[in-house]
Symmetry: C3
Subunit: 344 residues, 3 copies
Amino acid sequence: MTWLRNAWYQAGWSSELAADAPLVRTILDDPILFYREASGSVAAVLDRCPHRFAPLSAGRVAAGEVTCGYHGLAFDFTGACTRNPHGPVTSRMRVRAYPVVERHAAIWIWMGDPGAVDESKLPDLGFIDATPESARISGYMPTRANYQLMADNILDLSHADYLHPDTLGGMMTNAKSRTWEEGDTVTAEWLAEACTPPPAFRAMVRDGLADIWTQVVWSPPALMVLGTAAKPAGVRRTGGDEAYTLHNMVPETMTTTHYFFCSTRSFLTDDAEFSALLRAAITQAFRDEDKPMLEKQQARMAGHDFWALDPILLPIDAGAVRARRKLDALIAKEARAAGEAAGG
Amino acid sequence: MTWLRNAWYQAGWSSELAADAPLVRTILDDPILFYREASGSVAAVLDRCPHRFAPLSAGRVAAGEVTCGYHGLAFDFTGACTRNPHGPVTSRMRVRAYPVVERHAAIWIWMGDPGAVDESKLPDLGFIDATPESARISGYMPTRANYQLMADNILDLSHADYLHPDTLGGMMTNAKSRTWEEGDTVTAEWLAEACTPPPAFRAMVRDGLADIWTQVVWSPPALMVLGTAAKPAGVRRTGGDEAYTLHNMVPETMTTTHYFFCSTRSFLTDDAEFSALLRAAITQAFRDEDKPMLEKQQARMAGHDFWALDPILLPIDAGAVRARRKLDALIAKEARAAGEAAGG
Amino acid sequence: MTWLRNAWYQAGWSSELAADAPLVRTILDDPILFYREASGSVAAVLDRCPHRFAPLSAGRVAAGEVTCGYHGLAFDFTGACTRNPHGPVTSRMRVRAYPVVERHAAIWIWMGDPGAVDESKLPDLGFIDATPESARISGYMPTRANYQLMADNILDLSHADYLHPDTLGGMMTNAKSRTWEEGDTVTAEWLAEACTPPPAFRAMVRDGLADIWTQVVWSPPALMVLGTAAKPAGVRRTGGDEAYTLHNMVPETMTTTHYFFCSTRSFLTDDAEFSALLRAAITQAFRDEDKPMLEKQQARMAGHDFWALDPILLPIDAGAVRARRKLDALIAKEARAAGEAAGG
């Protein structure tokens, strides 16, 4: 098995899917058509008519149904055929439908067995809901790199010192760090004490040295919540100082990724000018620094498996390696379960 | 075996091959150089010199011979070497030559064993010859889709109701239809009685309801003759009312097709303005409606085999399915014969 | 084994690698970063960090070291890690380094076992050193064709009569020719007596008939030295009349080649105008005549193995065939030696 299928993947931000404009997005190699029903709830069906394999997106969506533009078969959000102009509707006339949930301002799709769908496995991103929209910066950046390479990038923030030296970097390499596992999550934490804060942290500590806490909590398949807090050196941190950002790496294919992010903050929450500055800084850092490096890294691997290239392992890789192993184990477990189900 | 080789394929329209301008066209993955000899007859040789594999088309054609532009070897229409500037000509110096016949304003090439060449297998397209040139509209439209998908499209004309609703569609889904086989041909027939004729049929029935007869006769590999006749409802049809169009799908590769068409008519035969209108309508329908759908269908199949995707079969697919099975059987038969020849 | 690895390949001209501008060039499918150390000597390392496989060229080169732009690991010209900001440097932290020698105005890289490196195997191109720079014309032309096809082109100069009829051709097909082997080299020689010299030779024999001697000495993998001399017919040639040109075909991949050339002359050595004319003529002949033919030849082979296509062998192919067989034997020998080393 290539993918972890019994899992929720972010298909997009809710704001990306208007009531009258369906969206086609490929996830785990499946081309999927997303649209809103009259109720506003989101439907997701394989974008391939089961009759002659035309994309359903080449037809039209109306009244909660998708009608194929080639021969007129219509399907509802459950995947059932609701209209066959050429004869009776039978139960075999189905397009694959995917369970979808909308939560935390995002659309989530279950890519595995619909019988195993489990809303309790949805990630808890309450920090997004708790933040007024004016203090959220969310976005989408498609990238030509494997999703695990992109998770490695967030799980090892020491890269900021080398890739983002002018904005975010300078404090991570010498920070105290540790990683641990808890259930299916992996956490990497850094504590930079009495450091000169990077420019990006000067909004929080205007002068002098700072204590900066950074934490990444990874959940499978490749969803990460990054927490940060910066205080003047020696000042005790409280829960209220923390700001959280979602970094979610959703595989489009093995070599391309939908990167969704959402930065939240608890200060300057109504400052639109600050939001604009922050959005520009986040976009610039990723677009001009991370994305080119990740895409070059992908290209340099030339189709080889990551482990087959025998990477050097450094202490900074602890979180990323734990996450890779966790995901491998979950995929293997799913494959075993599928094998047993097939065998029994 | 992938292709039906012992068959005639249309290589082009006669008008595409001028006396002084050779043409390279790939058919069944073979790149082939076509040129006219002094007599005007058409020669076809593999466009790859047997010496160092340079394309012969990068050389020159003169006096009925092709001379390679790399080392000067020359070949005639039989594929025999006629000049070797570097030593004696031997019988091993041959380029593959293909039997060619020019008929029905078209060039036909035999892609299989030259020893098995059989002119009686040429399709009978007498309707083209019987039509004055002023009443023929022929053309060529290369398409990035498999030739069998393109044959399916013609063999199931119910698609017109959904893909061409404003011009050709509206009467097929509810028409009486049947399909049958006769020798190696498959015929699909539709009779739409007392229907509102689609705009494209208003030249034949200006007012009121119409009876419209439509018939597609498929011959292997993927040549179809479409007959239509439209009469005011209740008026008896005679043979003279029928108009025929060739739709010929010739594989360039497994995923790209040379589509040749020739529409003929028995009315307004000298009306150049009507010809221009008709040509524009045919071109528009294919270029803007069929071709995009076929190419998207091809793309959505993502390299999978048609049957492996387990298509839903509807009554409208009867003709296309019969034609696919017929072709599969002919290819299998050819493979068996080749195996026996090799074994004996 | 695909490549002859225990051999020197030209990586470029010395003039291509400035002190402050590293160069990435792929050779035998390996992407390699070349840079100059403070001493001016050339270093070559695999352009892929052994930690996370980012291209080292996306980092920076300074003080003779390459620092990865992703996590800050630094490596010297031996491939050893010289700096790990994240912990101790261990012996496992190495990037592949390649032995490099600079000679004959060119950079040479040893692509095989560094333990087997052997400077005595460097080609002797003393004719380049013996020529004043004002009388050398060197260049680089990347080509989308396999390096052996490109060696065939030089080893069989009869092609000039067909591909370059207006400049170089006309005398080769009827010249006396012979080929022979000596050690690992293959030599092809042509003697055109009392011929009308092609335009390119009119600088040497202004009027009347000429005797023209041409010789190509091939050394593995695909380096050729072309010697020419032209004298008025019947006048005895002396060593001093000879002019030599390097034609070196270095595989970038199996289907693309770095073509390096260097023409030298012993006449008009200070004539910059003549140099400019000659450079234009060489460039034009290759760019407009050889390169298109070679690239079309490559494309027409459609991924097939050269011998699997069963080429016709002509007397003019003797040199090219000997060179191909020699190279095949050397590659097989290297594979056997590697197998024995692995087995023992």
